[in-house]
Structures are given as C-alpha cells and as structure tokens.
C-alpha cells in the first residue's frame, strides 16, 4: 500500500472536516477522492501533502511515517485547482523550480525539463510566462512541474475544476493516458462523478468528513453501499419505496403484472438519443429514461397509461430505510 491513512481527524473551529478517516491507497494506481463540496476530500489531500496538519491520526507514504514531516520532506507532487503558477517565471523555469531547489547540475535540469515539456505537449511554450498560456496549458505546466522532482505520489486537487467543459474532458482523457505512461501513484480530488468514473482505477467516496465507500468505478455504480453513494454517482428516482436508476426502469403497455406500478405519462423530454419520461402514479412521480428506439417502439405519448417496473437483477436501495441520506442528497 502506497498511502496509508489511519484514523485521521481534522476540525476547523467547530466544523468537522474529517471524522476518523482511514483509507489505504494502492501503489501505482489512479485513485479518486469523490464527494460533494465541503465534504473533506480536499482537506484529506492537503493532509497527505503536509499542507495541513491532522488533529489526530497518522499518515504513511510508502511505508514511511509522514505524519510529522513538513511538505518539503514528503516528496509529493501537488497540483492545485487554480494552477498556482509562479507568475514571474517562464514555463521552463516553473518546471525547473523543484530541480533547482535540489541543486541538480544545469545540463541535467535542462534535459529533464525539455523531456517533461514534451510529455505535456508544451515544448514550444518554454519561454512564455504563465499568463500567456490558456487554463489547460497552465494546468499541464503545473503537472510537469510536480512531476519534475519524481514524486512518490502525485496529488491533484480538483485539477480540472477551473476549466471549461470541453477542455476538462480532453484533459481527463489525457491524464488517464499520461498515468498509463508514467505510473506514479496518483490521487485526485473531484466532485464530478463522471470524471471519477471515467478516469479512476479506484474511487473513495467521502461525505461529511467520513468515507462512505471505497471501490472500483463498477462496484460503486452497480453496488453502492448506501443511498448517498447511489444518489451521488448517478441519477436516481423512486418507485414505491425503492430507489433506482431511471435507466433501470422498464415501461410496457401490456396487462399489469403484480410487480408493476400503473401510472400516466405526464411529461416527455428528449435530450439527444435519450428520452426522459415522467410518469405520475397514484402517489408519486417516477422518472424513466429510455433510448429513442425503445421509446418509439412503445408507441406512447403524454397522457398514455403505462406499467412501470424495475428491470430484473438491478440493485435498488430502500428509500424509506434511510431517510436522512435522502434528505441530505436532495
């Protein structure tokens, strides 16, 4: 295990940021800390980096107790949401910074920086100032700067949070490919479940200072440990007292089965290939999503009476069993 977090707690005044958190982060993998804003995930990352001190608990990095080490001695690379560029230094000197601190020979620094700039596709921008780069380029520079010192672990705090949607998508695919090349143990914080599901090998869901679930993207999506995880990782709707994903519901117009719930279509929204139907049953409004073809073959329209049921072998949480989770998520 590369990073071992044991019973870490952290308060800011009266606010509990982390409440007895224990996590093991495996070597060489890309791990996402996922959760809503203010849930404690950035605090945990900053504690790993030594930028914040835990009130109690221990942090081990590659078997070394790092709890009392200052950030300078931890050999971690840290990438910030807002780039944290050294504004007065050129791109080249930004990347060289960590190596200059370590007093490496000049020739070695130059070749290493060139190598890294090539890795992040910024070779032709070496002499520019950070202010002359776009957000995506600045973040790639920050990544190169963090990688320059060959860190034991690479920590990224909402690395794509300040970028627009298109660049964000490009960069996260690029990060995935980069990780496959470089293989450094990487932990990144995000509140975007799609980003975590797409990029990470393993996801740690953190909410209100506690770990809700740890697992692979498939585990989390298909077997959420509780309603919070289920709600946070994707859309949900309620049928009777069951919490399900809208795409795990089926509609048919045949004779009602005992497991079916009868309702009337009250609204149809089309988003590209996806059709979202709102069905009003006797006591609730259920959302069902279907593909365009499925929808057309049903031959229904707003006002039609239909039967709704959960597709077989689908996980569904009990919506009444854990009321607090639902209230928190809505």
């Amino acid at each position: 295990m590369s990073i071992e977090i044991k019973n870490v707690a952290k308060r800011f005044g009266g606010f509990v940021a982390l409440d007895d958190v224990s996590v093991s982060i495996p070597s060489g993998q890309l791990t996402a800390l996922l959760g809503p804003s203010g849930g404690g995930k950035s605090t945990l990352l900053r504690i790993i980096a030594g930028l914040e001190r835990a009130d109690s608990g221990r942090v081990e990095i590659e078997g070394l107790d790092a709890t009392d080490l200052p950030p300078q001695k931890r050999n971690v690379g840290f990438v910030f949401q807002h780039y944290a560029a050294f504004k007065h230094l050129s791109v080249h000197r930004n990347v060289a910074f960590g190596l200059e601190i370590r007093k490496r020979p000049k020739a070695e620094i130059r070749s290493r920086v060139e190598e890294l700039l090539a890795l992040v596709h910024l070779e032709q921008f070496a002499d520019r100032l950070p202010s002359q780069l776009s957000g995506g380029q600045r973040q790639r520079m920050a990544l190169a700067r963090a990688l320059a010192v060959q860190p034991t672990v690479l920590l990224l705090d909402e690395p794509f949070g300040a970028l627009d949607a298109k660049v964000r998508k490009e960069l996260r695919e690029w990060l995935r490919r980069l990780h496959d090349e470089v293989h450094v143990t990487t932990v990144f914080v995000t509140h975007d479940q799609e980003e975590a599901l797409e990029v990470a090998d393993e996801i740690v869901v953190i909410n209100e200072g506690r770990v809700e679930q740890i697992g692979s993207p498939d585990d989390l999506y298909d077997q959420p440990a509780n309603d919070f995880v289920m709600r946070f990782l994707g859309p949900v709707t309620q049928l009777g007292d069951r919490l399900v994903r809208p795409h795990d519901l089926q509609i048919h117009t045949g004779a009602p089965d005992p497991a079916d719930v009868t309702g009337r279509i009250t609204r149809i929204t089309r988003i590209g290939f996806e059709i979202r139907a709102e069905i009003t049953t006797s006591d609730q409004i259920v959302t069902v999503t279907l593909t365009r073809n499925e929808f057309l073959s049903l031959n229904v329209e707003a006002g039609s009476t239909v039967q709704v049921r959960v597709a077989p072998q689908i996980h569904a949480g009990s919506a009444t069993g854990n009321r607090s989770e639902i209230l928190r998520a809505t």
Binding site: A49, G50, F78, F80, F86, H88, F97, I101, A148
Partner: protein, 248 residues
C-alpha cells in the same frame, strides 16, 4: 497627453529655464556653493537612508498586517500607519519637537542635530512602503507558496524566490515615493532640526531662504539638481526592480 504636459512638464520646464537664466557658470556656482552642496548632500543622503529603512521595515509591517493572524494590535496598527499621511506636516513637526526637543518628556533631546532630520523623514515616509506592499501581499497566491513548499523549497527560499519577486514592484513604487517625499520634506523638520547651515539645513529650507533673499535663480538651480537626482533615483529603482523580478 496635453493635460499631462500642462500639469507636469510645463512647471518642470519652467524650473529648468529659470535655473539656466544666468547661464551655466552662475548655475554651477549656485549649486556648488558650500552651504548649498552641504544641504543637498544631507537631504539626499538622509532620504536614501530613510528609504532603505522603509524598504525593510515597511515590508515587515505590511507582512505583519496581512499574514500574522494572531497579532493582537493589528487594528490599532492599521490606523496608526496612516497618521503621518493624515497629519499636517507642521503638526508632525510640533509633535516631534515636543517629544524629542529640549523639553522632551522622554529625556531625549535631539533638537538641532542631523538625527532630527532623519527622524522627521522617517515619520512622514513610514506609510508609503506599507501601503503599497499591503494590497499586493493580500492578493498574493498562497497556493504558489504551497506549491513551492511541496517542491522542497524552504521558507526562506519561498520568500526570496516566490514572494519577493511579486512584491518588488510594489516595494519599488513605495521606495520611490518615500524617497521623493523625503527630499521635499519641510514642515515636519523645520522646527526640530534648527536649520543650522552646513549641519542640519535641508534643501527645501535652502530654497526658501534663497527666494527670501530674492535669488530666484539660485533656488531654481537647487530645484533642478533635485529634479535630476529624483529622476535618476526613479530610473534606478525601476531597473533594480525589473532585475529582481526577472531573476526570481
């Protein structure tokens, strides 16, 4: 540009024209007059020293005001810093005289000495560096410092290579203001320094006495020299500032 010319360039030109009214020889005589040269030397030298003190102390005070969250007297200091700005200089002179004059309640009598000039300069120029550095320090990206720390930079290295280059333009601006203000100071020192020729007489006092003696050309000559020195200092400050920023 026209407005700028009317406001700044025309008066400056007028000073130079008046100064050269009697020709080069007279100009040179006025400037190299023993008493005048001593006044220029004292004023520029003291202003320079005071500016150096301000660069260090002003930056430190700004640092305490912005970064030290536990400092108890922060609010009070925040207000106190502006007093030299708000106080009419002659009032400041009176305050200094009653504090450090012959009847000093502190038992410190520096009246009629060069220390008085230094102290008066220091008093009126104190806010400049503080007030130019403070907003820049407030806006500084703390994450850049954290990034430098996780790359292995010690606190001193972070200050020297990350913080200082960002503050340098502000420090330079404050230093230039503080120097210019020192050179032109009159009110705050005129009471305490005694204006002793060759010892504690500063240029502004010298200029005034030249005018009172109906020697306008001599006054303008001294003014022209001060103008040239100020210009050189401003350019020098800018050059140094750029170099510090670039070196990083």
């Amino acid at each position: 540009m026209l407005w700028f010319s009317l406001l700044v360039l025309i008066p400056l030109t007028a000073v130079i024209v008046t100064a050269s009214g009697n020709g080069w020889v007279e100009f040179w005589r006025a400037v190299t007059n023993e008493q005048t040269a001593a006044a220029i030397q004292l004023t520029v030298g003291t202003a320079f020293l005071v500016t150096l003190v301000n660069i260090v102390m002003g930056t430190m005070i700004a640092w305490v005001l912005v970064r030290d969250e536990r400092f108890f007297g922060k609010r009070a200091l925040e207000v106190l810093i502006d007093i030299p700005f708000a106080l009419p200089t002659i009032v400041a002179g009176l305050v200094l005289l009653s504090l450090y004059g012959p009847d000093s309640p502190l038992g410190v009598n520096i009246a009629n000495t060069r220390v008085a000039v230094f102290l008066a300069f220091l008093f009126v120029t104190l806010p400049f560096v503080v007030r130019t550095v403070q907003p820049v320090l407030t806006e500084l990206d703390r994450e850049a410092e954290e990034a430098a720390a996780s790359l292995g930079a010690s606190r001193f290295t972070i200050f020297r290579r990350i913080i200082l280059p960002s503050l340098t333009p502000a420090i330079a601006a404050g230093a230039a203001l503080s120097f210019a203000r020192g050179v032109s100071e009159y009110g705050s020192l005129v009471l305490l320094s005694g204006n002793l020729p060759m010892r504690t007489e500063v240029t502004s006092v010298r200029i005034l006495s030249s005018i009172e003696n109906d020697n306008l050309e001599s006054a303008a000559a001294v003014a022209a020299v001060l103008l040239a020195i100020s210009f050189v200092v401003i350019v020098a400050v800018d050059v140094i500032q750029r170099r510090v920023v670039r070196r990083g």
